[in-house]
Every structure is written in C-alpha cells, then in structure tokens.
Symmetry: D2
Subunit: 368 residues, 4 copies
C-alpha cells in the first residue's frame, strides 16, 4: 500500500498536482449519514489556495464531484469516491526539477523511487494539493463525529518563534476549540496572530519561508478508544499525520517537554468531576496506554519551512553529475503550516472516526 | 488488530507482565537467514532489568525459547514464534491498582477498555516487560540488516535537561553509531553520561522519576525506500515507536526545531560526494517525501518520566467514586528512557527490514 | 474494508450502476510500465454489454478516463485512478425493487445491510456493471504479466449442462490458452459453442436464464509463489473471485472431482521434463501447499443463473409485510457466465501480479 | 503475511509438525468472555489423531497451554496465545522427502519457496497437525457465537462416491446441525456412515486413500453481515477454508449445481415466516450479494485424497535430477476429510465471529 490508511474506515487517495485532478475513495462509511455539502465546502475552503494573501496565488475552486457513495444527500454505505479537477495548472513552472532536484523536496527521492517515471509536474503526488482530498475526507468525518458529540479543532501554535497561546486542554469547550479555525487567521490570541502574519509577510518579501507548529484537539471522545500496542490512538494519529507533506514531528500532551520533567511534576492525579473520573491536568494529551482517557486528545504537529523559496540555492544536476545553481519560480506558500491547520483537523477527524467505529465493534466503550 | 504491526514482515506480540510469559510471532521472515543466538542475547541483555543498578531490581534472565520458525540455526521461512517465560513475579506489589488507578498509567483506561477483565497484574500487557519481545524481534531484524550493510544505533540524547551530544548525522560511520549501545551507559559523551547517572540516582533517592529522549539512527540504507503518502518511512516508524510504553513524541531530523527555522536555514542543498548524490546537512533526517535519501535516517523519541513513583499521590477509588491517597510500592525504573535505548533500535530495525523487503518488491530501489 | 483487495498491489473499486460512473484506484503498481490503451480497450470490450446479441441490450462504450497514475503512456508509481462514466441509464426499470426484493438478488440483504440508504438503482454497487472496473484493473495487470511471460486465459467450460472441452492443463501453450477469449463466443470446441448459444437463445426466449462454469488458467508462472496457510494462491484467488457477482463456487485442478478419487488415482508423480521438475498430470491445478508448482494454475468458477428473469415470480413487499407477485422488466443477460469469462481472467491477472510482486519481496522465487 | 487471517479478530498460526509445538495468537477477542476449557477440549478432541481407528496412529494429547490473554477463566482483551507441545514425534519417517518430494504434497513447492531451509520434518508447517491450533481458535470462537445464538455444525457429506444426506438448509435446527459432530462418525445417516467407514477401511487396507466432501452450516446469524465486493461472507470464508490442507474446492448453497440450473429453477422467492422475511429454499446458502440473508449459511468443502499413500509411487530425486521410486512409510490418515469435519467448523466459527464483530461496528445489523 501507500496512499491508503484506515482499519474499519479506509481511505485511498489519488491524484497529482498537474494531472487531471485529485480525489479519494472512502470505503466503510456507515450508510444513511447526511452530508451537508455547504458546510463541507466551508471547511475545505479553509485550506484552499487563494483564501489568504499569505498563501500561494494558485487559484482553484476545489469543489469535489461526488462520483459514488452519496445519494439523496446521505451516504449509501457503498464506497464514496470524489474527484476534484485541476484547473489552474502551470506546469512550465516546474519543468526543470526532474534533473535539478529542489533542496529538501521530494524531487530527488521520487526520481530514485519511481525510476524517473513519476509525473512530478507541480510536485506530482507529493504536492500540497493532495491535502485537498484529505480535507474532503476529513470534512465528511467531522460531520459524522459532530453528530456524535465529538468536535475537532486546531490553531497555529507557532510560526517560527512566534507562539500562540496553547489550548487549555483541561477545560476546553467547543467554542474555544473551533473558534480559531473560524477566524481569517487561525489563532487563539489575536496579538500573536498579528505578529505571525508580520513574520510571514517578512519572510515572503525576502523570498524565504518559515516553519510552524499546529496544535490540534479532539473533544467529546468516549473513554476506552484505541488498542495497544500498535493500534493505539497515538500510533494511528501519528501514522496518518506524517502523511501530510512537510510534517517532521508529532507529539501528544506535554510531548517533548515531558522528557524534561520529573514524574512528580508530570504525573496527573485522577479526580472526580461531576461524578466522572477525569485527570487534573491532561498532560497525557487525552491518551494513556494508547487508550483515550475521556479528556481532550491534544497533539502538536511540527512543519518544516516550505522548501520552495525564491532565493538562489545550490543543487546537483542528475544528468551532469555536478553541482549547479537553482532558482525556483512559481507560486509557493511562505509557511505551509498556515494552510495545514484544517488539514490536521481533517486527518484527526478521519482517524478518530475510524477508532470510534472500531470501538463500537469492541463493544467495550463506556465510562465505568 | 492491536498488538500487531508490519506489512511484508508481520509482528504479533503477546503476553502479560505477571502471566506465564511474553513473546511474539514473526510472520514473513525470509528463509535461510542464520540467526546468531549469542549475539541476539547480548542485544536483548541491553534492556534487561538488572543490567544496571539504575533500573528496576526485577530479575529476569529473558532467554527466549524458539518454538517455531528456526531450525539448524537459521530461519525456515515459516512463522517464527518465541516465548520468554516470566520468572520473578511479585503480583502482590500491584494488587490494588484496579480500583485505585495510578496517575498517568494505563490502569484507568484499561479498566474501561477491557471492562475490568484485563489481567493488569504488573501492568499486564502495558508493562515495560512487553519490550522484551520487541527486542528479540528487532534483534533478529538487526542481524538480517547488518548482513545487508544496514546498521542501527541509538543513545540517550537527554535525561531531564542533561543533554548528550547528538549524532553527527552527516558523517556517521558504523563505529560512532553503535559505540554508545556497547557502553554500560549508552551515551556519546562520557561526561554527559556521568551527569545523567547522577540525575537518575538523585531522582531515585527522592522517590521520583525523570523523562528522557532517545536519538536513533540507521545507516547504510538504499535511496528510495518508503511509499508516500501513508507508507512512508516516517509514518511507519512513528506508528511502531508509539507502541513503546511511555513514548509521547517522535520527530525526524531537525524535528520540532525545523518549525522554528527559515527555509534558507533549513534547506539542505544536494551535493556530489564520491560520485553519489547526497545532502549537505541531513536536516531531513534521511527522509524526503516519505522516502529515504540514502543518508542516515535519524529520529528522536520523547519518553515521559516513569509514572510509578515512590512519593505519595492522589487518585480516585473507582469503587467508592471519590479521591484517595495512593502509595506505590514495587520495583520501578526511575527513568524508562535508559532501558528504552535498545528498544528504539529494535523497533527501528524491524520497521526498516520490512521496508527493505517491500523495496525489493517495488523493484525500484537504486541510486540513479 | 469491503470493495478492496490486494497486498502489495491494492485495488479499491467504487461506483454504482445508475450513478455517475464506476471506477477504481490501483495503489502499488510499479513505475514505468507502459500501458497499451488500445489493447486494454480490446480486452475490456470482451465483457461489454452490446458485444454479443446474447447479452443485455444496455449500451455503454466503457472507455475509462485515467485520472491519475498514468503519464506519457506508462505508469508513474503513484496511485492509478480511472473513471468510467455511466451513460445509458434507465433507472425507471428498477424503481420498485427496494420494496419488493427480487428473488436471489441482493435487494433484500442490501436493504438490511445499508438500512435502506443504498442507491440500489440498477442494483447499485452489486450490479454486473462493477465488473467493468475489474476488467480495466485486470487488463492492466495482464499487460505487466505478459511482459514477464505470464499469460491468462479462460473459456466457458459449461452453460447449463452443455460442456466445452477442458483446457489440457498439462500441455497448455499460449495459443491454446488465449484462443477462446479471442473468439466471438469464448469456447474451445466450436460445436459446444453452437449448442451453448442455442441454449442461451432458448432460455432467453422463455424469459428464463441459465447458469455456467468458467475455466481459467495462468501459464508461465514461476515455481514458489504464494504463502501458506492463508496467503496461498488458492486463498487469494478464491477471495477475489467470490467478489464477482453470481459466483457460488471456486475449485482448483481436479476440484470437487478430487473428492471422489483415490489417492492412487489423483496423485501426480513428479517427472523431469527438459531438465525441469514438473508434474505428470497437473491434477493439483498448479498449486501444492498453496504454492505454485510451475505448471499452469487452473481453476473453475461456478456462476448461478441470472436471477433477473422475465417470468413472473413471488416475493414479499417489505412495507406491507406480505407476499406479492413480481415481474421484472429491464435488460438482463440470460447467462451471466458468458460475459464473466474476461472478468475471471481480469481478477486472476490482478491477483497473480500481486503474488508475483510479493514473490520478488520474498526473494525466494526460483526453480532449484 | 502468510499464516494470518482476520479483520477485527486476527489469527496468527505458528508451528511445525516435528518442532517444539504448534499454536496461535488471537488478537482482538472481546474482553470478559468466559471460556469453558472442558468444552473446548471436547471440541478439539474431535480432530485429534487417535480418536478414531480410521485415522493416523500418531498419538498426541493436544492440550493447549494458554500463555496469555486468558485470566480467571475469561478472555482479558489482550492477545490470547496458546501453545500445543509436540510429543509423539518420529521424524525419521520423513527423512527422505526433501530430496524425493512426495507426489501431490508440498515437499517440492516448499523446497523452492523456502530455498531448502524449511523444517519439513513431518511436513513442517504444511502438516495436518496445524489444524490443531485452528480447532482451538475456532473452538473459542464457537463459544462466543453460541452465547449469541449462533451455532456451527458440519458432517461428512461424502467419502469418495458414498454420500451422506445433505443438511436441510431451509429448516435446520440446532439439534440437527450439531448432532453429526457429536457422533463417533460425523454423518447424518448412520447407513451412509457405515458404508463410508467400510470404504475408508478398504482403501487403507489397500495402502490407498480417498477424497471427501464436508458440508458445514451456521445458524442463528443476523441478516446483514458481510461487505461486498471483497469482504463478503463467501470471500472471507473461502479465503480461510483454502488454508486447511488438502482443500481443492469451496462452494455455497447449490454451488456448482447452480451452474447447471435455470433461473426459474434456482431462484428462491422471498416469503414471510413468523413475521420475518425469509427464503423458500435457501439455494443461495444463506448469502446474497455477499451478505447474510438470515437463513443458515451453508457451504461445501472438497478434500483431495491424502497424498501420502503406502503404494509405491514415482517421483524425482532433486539432487540427481532424475526419476526414482518412492515408498512412503509413516502414519497417515486414509481420508483427511474425516478429521477435517471439526476443522471446517472451527474455521467457519472464527470467520463468522470476525464478521459479527465488524457488523457491530457497521451498526447496521438488523432485520427491517
């Protein structure tokens, strides 16, 4: 396999940046689930190029055509396939990279892996454009989850070294969770957002780019989802999140900070709250032993800076076998993390819905 | 599924801490691979309790019995099953945790997930003891990899805020890679090692524990392994590594630091070196677009502090539905990261061997 | 999962009979494999409605649009998606079957399985139309196999009780294997073919239908493909073949006849032939212990008679909860087996290519 | 993969005939399911050598040791591993077959597949002994199914050309279903049983063997299990059943006979019965469109005659590259079908439990 993921709910993603289109098949959706296409489009629009002047200037309407699996406004139980046509394609922008691979891009590894046969125009199947079908799939999953009281939200936790406030993972209501995603710039603190935007503007003006971190949370989950050792919540989310282009790290709860703590500091006493067992701090990010605690699942995703920058760079010519200068034209996001916010939500929604379906099958999802 | 992982090479782990034993089935090993049992034992001994006065006092010889799949010193091609009997079991130490779940442990989530039926003596299937079969499986994979020129090594990158030197991921030879694992304390810098040991001694004396980071690298890999979007090297390693108890974060190359960088700083020009295409810095950790670059694959794993500490803690009594005091007796590692060093190597070896086998099947693994 | 199959090579089929179209994603194809689209179309045309006056009168050109994974006439290594639009749709013909399920059809089980939400117009995802994407996928696999010396052929072994000659599975050359498929009526014996056509004409005139058996063979396979116990050649082919609508039985070699034989009669001595080890009779159908012997893989597939017949039948009205009369209009094949001949070839080609790729990964495919 | 099967419920079988033992891991069993070990042993004893004078004289007590996953008489939710030690091993009986492969056995294909490294003593992992762990796994599944009103039974439908009466698949109560398995000779008609035993005695006296057919049925299933196209009931059962050694054909309901019928004869009108929708005849064997109808699932499995016969045979010497005579000593069943009756039940029980668990996850299993 390769561009496929999921156990009960199976996603198969296809398409290239400058081919006919991108899309996916979702196999295993329950039948009879209404899908609100307007709401879905609004969600997908959050990642669309052109939705922000801070992102690439490529213009795509990105309206999915539903080929199968959707009838009379609801899922049929048959495999759901959708297709998003590519419209605004300028392959000339990318003509040369097969021979002179862009630094920190997949041009070189793709050339080796696919023996030069891959359609790498516009980065091919490695393009950020492949996050469009992830958003459609995850946007569908979000609707099923919301109907079951499970909400997914994310925000830009940091751009370079400018940090947003973190989610309050102990007391996180639906409003706080989803508000950042509804803003034109997806942060909690408007002040932090302003500084992030300034930074992105600045690196763009310099022909440079900058990395980012996205924090994502899922609330309303039942206790008891996930199956250790290798089908736990963390394994499953990480396996999926590393499928988003430019992701270089994934952590849960206190994450890498936990590695610097004492047990007495990190440990999180159980307490009673409204008659339910809950954690004091949720440092575990909602997962203990791979299984949901019933508190919000909270994780961070680290994005490297966009490798396509306007500045001159060095690379090699594969045909000549020697080093050459490279200047990348084309339209690129100065910060991939910005548009990745809804993509992280989408991937999380898909994985959590899959885990919910498995939880039903296990027949053991309940708070004691 | 749950305690299973792998595509071509499939691992199925079983066992509980205080039951009859632990073990695994490995299905898909090539036939005719000699296994040096002495070397395997030496590798497994690196994680064994009792191998260091800094670890738990539980004493197990941990010699696997090979039930199937191994004949005349070599793999047969049939499923390989091994069993490690539990010997030194003191279940009384853990009697009470079903009702009063230890903070930041899986006691509570297991109680919900398995409806109170799980055999949680000694933490059951969540115990660090389950890393013993991971080491046997990975130790076998290491031997197959070594025969193909692929080496795996790891070291304690940090204990709390005491840091070891990182691997030089640009120029990493086999000697530098494997030396830390052969030391009694697995670090590069002896000075850092001394300070880590002092820290571990100190937290143990205080009845406390401390988190850690492990850095692991794999050298000698061909270019072109891994299949994006979801079967890339990062997806597969992360999915497996989060199966090790206490892991809360996984990152590749510059990892979370990449999120703070500019593209001009992070980008890694391709250069020619001895007639081969290679990267200048290996900030990508050996993976671009989910596919190996041919440089060392380098990743970090964050471990939380051992949740079982000697200090008094608060938790709830599930039966009484109210908060109570808890004091944990028993034998515990003050720093799980220490014994996790060979475990990370084992998991990485298993995953990389699986990816090598798939690479053969793809028929496209070559440097152009 | 549901409409997905394959290990190294993964097929995900989608679409409904009267929706927008049908298609599939093939994930895992090697890169750089030329695909001859004319040859592919000729193969697909063998199952197309309208290709024979003995089949349904529905007229579809069935030309796949390749959305991804194919570039400059060859596979790219990225997921290959194709779409076949539905054109000649008369849903009115099927309007009533949601309430009055057709006997021996999936109308009733689909109503229960999908809670009445499935788009069952034209039988939805259960329609024989779903064999069109199987033919495209298998037709692509056929071209890769042929390039490696592996050929796939099939013929109508029987229609009702009219039997064709079986393949000579001991000495089966490419010519004999593929000749039936190239004829307008896919049989070995023209005389048998004439009698079968008469029978089909007769049952059609009576408003009835008739069952059939298809015999399929694969030649040129290496010895050593397949992994017992559950990934053997027979397991894998059977799992896929039962995905073809109307299949009720699958057997290999002597099949059910073997159950009536003595060992001394069925046993098949090994002999030397041109310096190679081979079997005397190939009663095993090319598979021993789930692994290819190097002789042709030969199997039979039993098709039930088309359940949609013109004669009046009895069924129940689900809404009224009582028995009612039913008359089925619409266009139906009087013998599904006829058009199933290339479909069996297609499914066999896909599975055998997957097994070949796994065999490469095992690294053990050779004749000693 | 190879010796593994299952979606929600995953089975991994290991062991060789003359190694240390055989066994399996079952991953995914629900927690808290009581297992009656005496009942399990009685079920397993039905396939044990020594249980009939018509079977091999090899004597094994076949009592599984439960290594993990079972605690206080019930499943824990953790992976369940059991081990059956090999006791009565006479490897000398099989010494020569690596060089002179037995006709119609896996000796030759295993030699190629595993490059001569497989431990083929006693047929290794291909041995009928591997059906012992299938019976334990299936015996456990039977108990979970029985608790949910689902019963599994089988009988010897034929030995050579001596036929037993078929199950009445339209009206099949639990008593009729399970009675044959409780008899010393598993048939419906005692008269047929007598003639079968005479035939088996006769072929054994002649140093020969004979094939057989097993008919198996599952009652009490809900309507709506199974997911077409490739995860239907037939796909899943067939994939598993072909893992039983010596199986050469699998068919459902009218099976191959359906291929000789007219639609008007085979079609099965829906009728109301006690307020429920049901079929008149159950010619479909309880499955339409890959989904259970709510009627008994009924299938037949064809077993070839035991290839190990006492009569002299011809084969080749792989080392000499020429044909030689072969005489097989050792203890062999003259009719593998006899002991295969409980094995078919076991495999069916395992697959159906897996499908039941998936059905819960789909959330759509109900009779409208």
């Amino acid at each position: 396999m390769s561009s496929e993921i999921g156990n009960m709910l199976h996603l198969s993603v296809f398409g290239e940046s400058h081919g006919r289109g991108v899309g996916a098949v979702i196999d295993g959706l329950p039948a009879g689930e209404p899908i609100d296409l307007d709401e879905l489009q609004r969600f997908c629009d959050r990642r669309r190029p052109g939705s922000s002047h801070l992102a690439t200037a490529r213009c795509e309407t990105d309206v999915p055509e539903f080929v199968s699996g959707l009838h009379a406004g609801a899922t049929t139980g048959f495999p759901l396939c959708f297709l998003i046509r590519n419209a605004d394609v300028r392959s000339g922008d990318y003509a040369g990279f097969t021979d002179t691979p862009r630094p920190s891009h997949a041009d070189f590894t793709a050339a080796v892996r696919y023996g030069g046969h891959a359609d790498m125009r516009g980065s091919g199947h490695f393009s950020g454009r492949l996050t469009a079908p992830l958003c459609v799939a995850g946007g569908i999953a979000r609707q099923l989850l919301a109907r079951r009281g499970v909400l997914v939200g994310a925000h830009l936790r940091a751009v370079g070294d400018v940090e947003d406030k973190p989610f309050d993972s102990r007391h996180l209501d639906g409003r706080e969770l989803t508000a950042p995603g509804e803003r034109s710039f997806p942060v909690i603190s408007e002040e932090a957002g302003r500084r992030m935007q300034e930074l992105i503007e600045r690196v763009r003006a310099e022909g440079d780019s900058v990395g980012a971190r996205v924090e994502c949370a899922v609330t309303g989950l039942p206790t008891g989802l996930g199956s250790p050792m290798f089908d736990g919540v963390e394994n499953r989310l990480a396996a999926a999140l590393f499928g988003i282009p430019a992701v270089k790290g994934v952590s849960f709860g206190a994450g890498f900070d936990a590695s610097r703590m004492r047990g007495s500091e990190h440990n999180d006493p159980f307490v009673m709250c409204d008659g339910r067992v809950t954690c004091s701090k949720n440092d575990a990010g909602g997962v203990l032993g791979g299984i949901t605690t019933g508190m919000p699942v909270v994780f961070e995703v680290a994005f490297k800076p966009t490798p396509s920058i306007g500045m001159p760079q060095r690379t090699v010519s594969l045909s000549m076998g020697r080093e050459v200068d490279l200047e990348i034209q084309g339209r690129h996001d100065p910060c991939v993390g910005l548009r990745a916010v809804p993509v992280c939500e989408a991937v999380a929604a898909f994985v959590m819905l899959d885990l919910m379906m498995e939880g039903d099958a296990n027949g053991t999802v309940r708070n004691p």
